[in-house]
């Protein structure tokens, strides 16, 4: 009863706070009640799940691994729910709506990543592991040392990912329904805490399954509505997309002066061709490496394989996850292009420059538009799915961090593996609470920060530190404790260090000069010949000239205030109402640009260097994986070769036989 009351309290607080602070956002005020009703239904469903799960969550195996009673199919849906974060669900549809082909290409790596999970990680981890990545590494290496490093790495990776989710979630909810950022973050945090602390892995699993089912249903419905007018023909549909004036205008805008010589048809077709967004192939390959190898090293994904009864069920779950995740990304091709054709890239980017609103706006349009009841119901539903997405992903991440703290550090290292069931479960719940409160605090502190690169960084650290350690422990006889520790530390520090000196950071000099250009305009630039780079080194580090294509001459551009004055003069003589409205809209847009530039000029006045004391990036890629992943592997190998570890050698036979056969694997709970 006490638990029920607490739930009721959380739900009531959240709903009360949401309705009290809602103003602005994509949903019109008169339809807000509907959004909150849909949110309320989804929160009620997840709370019922949590209440049910809490009654059967008493032991450590139940708390961390849902009693290993999750079936393969259920786990497949849960993995999809855990993995399809707001970034991939809203972000990729947005990228496709703004940049066409490049957005779709970006989604591929997120699925291919599961091949690595399926072939080399899922089954052995299920056969060897218990609750955490630390358990797998401690099997044949020094348990205390490896558990400390594994827990540190787990917490680092999860915190990066968690911060990105909390900040992204707060911004998203604010953009959608206008709830204050801080309130959104606290609401998401409290709900997620209720799931994790009371219902452990069982509640988390079913919240993730619910969310994945809702997400797939919503996407199928939208795609059906978008595609059916074209008789489900791909060429006919895409032909309509690229024939749309809004899409053509977007391509012309992206291409700039190069668009002048192209016909409308060519411009439209360009939307389906590469190169509108992803400009640096080396950076692409670097990100691809981090995705393909990092997913298999993500602690919250690894943890999902301990919830199924056997290695066979682990295999089934990856197959299902791949079907759902892959199918979903194919659907996003239609969601993105549909939003581009029906809503228009300019409107999407106007509400959120990253394109995150493409899916929700498409839903609103398909339901009948901004002023219709059904349109707003669709929007409310998609917004609620987005909200469920954030809590589901955050719950999985908090559980992974909490298990590293409680199971690896507290029970494994501090208590020397001597703790009663009850003590362990209490430790797990307390750790969840600590991690959850930390997530809320970090979320609020990081308000307004650019956190988009943190997701890529989380994958890069997982790929450079966790994956080499887990992979080589499982498959290489000579791997040992020193190798694991050195590899994990050097791999993760390199990945983080490279990002600190990369273009992801803010460089005041660049911001100031960009703001100045906005205010004062740009002088004419003469055509530049192509620069021939001096090899790969120059593409990675700012030590020599980087290769650059030829640039055409550019006419001088006026500053924003000058443009504004011109528009105002135009407005004064304009007679047509539609033309007037258009000019007024342009002036509002210019005002925004001017305010932002003025803010930047003030904020960075007098500063010349980034956090790391650099005037411009020293490492030129946004993704460090290309260097840090091979280095992580290399360090595990080298340090293992130069040191000896008797236990690691003696345990090899047992580990290798067990990971391949499943003999003595942790069994399912029998009730």
């Amino acid at each position: 009863m006490k638990i029920l009351n607490t739930f009721a309290f959380f739900a009531a607080t959240f709903l009360a706070s949401s309705s009290a602070f809602a103003a602005g956002g994509a949903v019109a005020d008169e339809f807000k009640w509907m959004t909150f009703a849909v949110f309320g239904v989804i929160i009620a469903i997840t709370m019922a799940i949590t209440f049910w799960a809490a009654r059967t969550t008493h032991t450590t195996s139940e708390f961390y691994a849902a009693g290993r009673s999750v079936s393969g199919i259920q786990n497949g849906w849960a993995i999809a729910g855990d993995y399809l974060s707001a970034a991939s669900f809203l972000g990729i549809a947005g990228l496709i709506s703004l940049y066409g082909f490049d957005g779709f290409m970006y989604s591929v790596g997120w699925l291919v990543a599961y091949i690595t999970v399926l072939l080399v990680i899922a089954e052995p981890c299920r056969n060897i592991g218990k609750y955490t990545m630390g358990d797998i590494l401690a099997f044949r290496n020094d348990p205390k040392k490896t558990k400390v490093v594994a827990a540190l790495s787990t917490i680092t990776v999860s915190t990066f990912y968690l911060t990105a989710q909390m900040v992204g979630g707060g911004v998203l909810i604010k953009t959608l329904i206008g709830i204050d950022y801080e309130i959104s973050v606290i609401g998401v945090g409290l709900l997620m805490l209720a799931y994790v602390v009371f219902g452990g892995m069982k509640a988390t699993t079913w919240v993730q399954i619910t969310k994945a089912v809702l997400l797939v249903m919503a996407s199928l419905l939208l795609v059906f509505l978008v595609w059916s007018p074209y008789g489900f023909s791909l060429p006919a549909y895409l032909k309509a997309v690229i024939g749309d004036d809004k899409v053509i205008a977007q391509v012309a805008k992206l291409l700039g002066s190069a668009a002048a010589t192209m016909s409308k048809e060519e411009l439209g077709q360009r939307f389906l061709e590469p190169g509108l967004f992803l400009k640096n192939p080396i950076d692409q390959i670097s990100l691809g490496m981090a995705l393909v190898l990092g997913t298999a090293g993500m602690p919250h994904i690894l943890m999902r394989f301990f919830t199924v009864p056997s290695a066979q069920a682990a295999r089934t779950s990856v197959i299902w996850a791949m079907a759902i995740i892959g199918g979903f990304y194919v659907l996003t091709l239609f969601l993105g292009t549909g939003a581009a054709m029906l809503v228009g890239p300019a409107k999407i980017a106007g509400i959120d420059p990253g394109g995150n609103m493409a899916g929700p706006l498409l839903a609103q349009y398909l339901g009948g538009g901004a002023n219709s009841l059904l349109g707003n119901f669709f929007l409310a539903f998609v917004a609620a799915v987005a909200f469920a997405t954030i809590v589901a992903v955050v719950a999985g991440l908090v559980l992974a961090s909490a298990s590293a703290m409680a199971h690896d550090i507290y029970v494994g290292v501090i208590k020397g593996d001597r703790a009663s069931q009850k003590e362990q479960v209490v430790a797990a719940r307390v750790s969840s609470l600590i991690v959850g409160l930390m997530a809320i605090t970090v979320g609020i502190l990081a308000k307004g920060q650019n956190v988009a690169h943190l997701v890529a960084l989380a994958f890069a650290v997982a790929a450079s530190s966790n994956l080499p350690a887990v992979f080589l422990t499982l498959y290489w006889k000579k791997c040992n404790t020193t190798g694991i520790i050195a590899g994990m530390l050097i791999g993760s520090i390199t990945a983080i260090g490279l990002v600190m000196i990369s273009p992801n950071m803010t460089y005041p000099k660049a911001v100031l000069s960009a703001a100045k250009k906005v205010m004062e305009g740009e002088p004419a630039v003469e055509a530049k010949a192509a620069i021939l780079g001096e090899g790969l080194k120059c593409e990675l580090f700012a030590v020599c000239p980087k290769a650059e294509p030829a640039k055409p001459a550019q006419a001088a551009k006026p500053g924003a205030p000058e443009k504004k004055a011109g528009l105002q003069a135009k407005l004064a003589i304009a007679t047509d109402a539609a033309e007037k409205a258009k000019i007024e809209k342009d002036i509002v847009g210019l005002d925004k640009t001017i305010t932002k530039a003025e803010d930047d000029l003030k904020k960075f006045a007098g500063q010349t260097t980034s956090m790391m004391g650099l005037e411009k990036p020293f490492f030129l890629l946004k993704n460090p994986g290309l260097l840090s992943i091979p280095l992580g592997f290399l360090c595990v190998i080298l340090f293992s070769l130069v040191t000896r570890d008797k236990r690691a050698e003696e345990m090899w036979d047992e580990l290798y036989v067990r990971q391949n056969t499943g003999i003595n694997a942790e069994g399912a709970n029998v009730h």
């Binding site: 790596g109 791909l234 077709q269 061709e273 047992e654 056969t661 003999i663």
Partner: protein, 106 residues
């Protein structure tokens, strides 16, 4: 399930286990290599073979889009091929070893 003490070294050297190890290793590495090479062909193609990617083959649908879609088909096919092989061959080989595990090397 109670944990049994096993003679792990004996199982490891058993010819059946060695056979399983050999088959699995070559099969997994083959699939892994195939999927990695196929995946990285996409960003490389998009960057360095744009003329090829732009060729229209099915109405407005060009090689690039078909290639990106084929990435999904190839990933699913690899998953299907692996799970079939594992279900029909590796699991059965492992079962035979598990059944005899406690007899080996005692």
């Amino acid at each position: 399930m109670s944990k049994r003490e096993m003679n792990w070294a004996a199982i490891d050297t058993d010819p059946r286990f060695q056979e399983l190890h050999r088959k699995k290793t070559s099969f997994l590495w083959g699939l892994m290599l195939l999927s990695t090479v196929y995946y990285f062909m996409l960003p490389i193609g998009a960057a360095y073979f744009q003329d090829l990617f732009k060729i229209k083959v099915w109405g407005v649908v060009n090689v690039g889009i078909l290639f990106a879609l084929s990435e999904f088909v190839v990933a699913w096919t690899i998953a299907f091929v692996y799970s079939r092989k594992a279900n029909t061959e590796f699991d059965i080989m492992a079962q035979a070893i598990i059944a005899d595990a406690h007899k080996l090397g005692v």
